[in-house]
Amino acid sequence: MSKSTLIVIDQPPYGAWAGREALDMAFSLAAFDQRVSLLFMGAGVNWLRKSQETSEIEQKSVEKNLSAAPVFGVEKLYADAAACDQYSLFPESMIAGVVITESSSELIRQHSHTAFAG
């Protein structure tokens, strides 16, 4: 198995900072030319919803950060299929470029290193 990292975000956006800081970990690995992908599972799939308008809660939108992920060299954005169902997150309501995975457990095994958002 070649060296590669899976960063897992299972917390929803805006209510906590751990997800943002996990995203920074992914960007940092990519900046050092390390292989890295992101997996959104549980309530974390809500990061992937389109049309997040955050000005009234005075936070930056995570949607913009996420859409920059491929540009910065993050290989894949995965979303857990069961979690998407749970939160009524359908392909048409999701940002572009997300790969739905039926088995997050298999995905974790395909990476040599896994780090959860704190």
């Binding site: 805006y14 209510g15 906590a16 005075e58 936070q59 930056k60």
Partner: protein, 138 residues
């Protein structure tokens, strides 16, 4: 529509800025309460909430500075902002008097916040008509 009774609020914040949304929700709530003609008796920081009173917080320039925004709101409206002393000492938030007492290398309490005991919270529950808690989201 019935008139809304005027209330005097004690707000308790237990979630830290840049970890939870609690300080920002609490500030937007407090501003709306004042605008509606209510009063805020005091704001009590407890547990991880004491980090809101740090003078050293330095967020990136494109993120809101929650300690500074809170400090301005408290000052503008003459509302006491009190960090619980037991929570604060455990988490490394101290004023000059605690710095001296414990021979610490610095102090880091942001003006106009003060440090005091849980009695301030107890008094808030006794004197105000509404106590609202803003917890971390988990």
């Amino acid at each position: 529509m019935a008139a809304i009774p005027v209330q005097n609020y004690t707000l308790v914040i237990t979630g830290a800025p840049y970890s939870s949304q609690a300080p920002q929700t609490a500030l937007l709530f407090a501003e709306a309460a004042i605008t509606a003609g209510h009063t805020v008796d005091r704001v009590f920081l407890y547990g991880d909430g004491v980090h809101l009173a740090s003078a050293l917080v330095t967020p990136p320039s494109d993120e809101s500075h929650w300690p500074a925004l809170w400090a301005k709101f408290l000052t503008d409206n003459a509302i006491p902002g009190i960090a619980c002393i037991a929570s604060a000492l455990r988490r490394g938030l101290v004023n000059e008097s605690e710095q001296k007492r414990y021979a610490l290398p610095a102090s880091n309490l942001l003006d106009p916040f003060t440090i005091a005991g849980l009695g301030e919270w107890v008094e808030g529950t006794m004197t105000s008509s509404r106590v609202i808690y803003f917890h971390g989201g988990g």
